[in-house]
Subunit: 144 residues, 2 copies
């Protein structure tokens, strides 16, 4: 479904969101420990998220990653996914055809479009902050 890079991106973002909410800035070592991911690879992904202005990074002592408060209050899962995997997951044809539409559908099109669309809606309607809150309350987990 999502690439590993994208999964690490989502996990990281949720964790940073949780820590940001409690006023903490977090370093890469803490993040990878919390979300169980490879450090250097995750660092690359955080660079991408930073360039996409989803998270902010601060260098130097006591540096690390945070999410701008304004941003955090409206950040959707779709933004994180699109920054890493693009929008192909809910745009592309299920059978891999370049041309596939209502007018010239692949044989799976009508069966598939609903699911593709629900995924899109879910990502666009899910706020990172609500996921980080469930994490903070101990209702969900990032390390299994």
């Amino acid at each position: 479904m999502f690439s590993k890079a994208c999964k690490y991106a989502i996990r990281s973002t949720i964790y940073i969101a949780e820590q940001t909410s409690s006023g903490k800035r977090v370093g890469i070592k803490e993040i990878v420990k919390a979300i169980d991911s490879p450090e250097a690879f995750t660092a690359k992904i955080l660079q991408q998220l930073s360039k996409a202005q989803i998270i902010e990074s601060v260098k130097g002592p006591a540096g690390g990653f945070v999410i701008n408060e304004k941003k955090l209050n409206k950040l959707k899962l779709s933004e994180v996914v699109e920054a890493i995997d693009g929008d192909s997951i809910y745009k592309d044809c299920g059978l891999g055809f370049k041309v596939c539409s209502e007018k010239t559908p692949c044989p799976m099109h009508h069966k598939f479009k609903g699911i593709r669309n629900e995924l899109k809606e879910m990502l666009e309607n899910t706020c990172v902050i609500e996921l980080s809150q469930s994490l903070e309350k101990g209702l969900s987990f990032l390390n299994r």
Copy 2:
């Protein structure tokens, strides 16, 4: 979503189903022309489908691939997908955790499970033959 191998598998199966329905046995060259896929790679995938008893192959002159009539009348998309990609697409955690369930969910679990399940239902409830029929009627396409 699906691997390329799986997409080629689905396309091939639908095409073979269509040709089988009109009493024709089809060779690999015809198949890859019809579904626009790399020949040698597709041949490997058809081997897998053959081993999984989804399609049948006949060697020698006038050989090729067919789908057993009995099989064709009940063949579901899920069987094709599972033969190539396995069931991870609707079993695995969206964020890649090994442990993720109703009791110990990842932060995305409750948002994701519905989609994962709909995909499963769609694949399990969609017959290959109905897709091949829409193709035969010119209502869908395998080559764009």
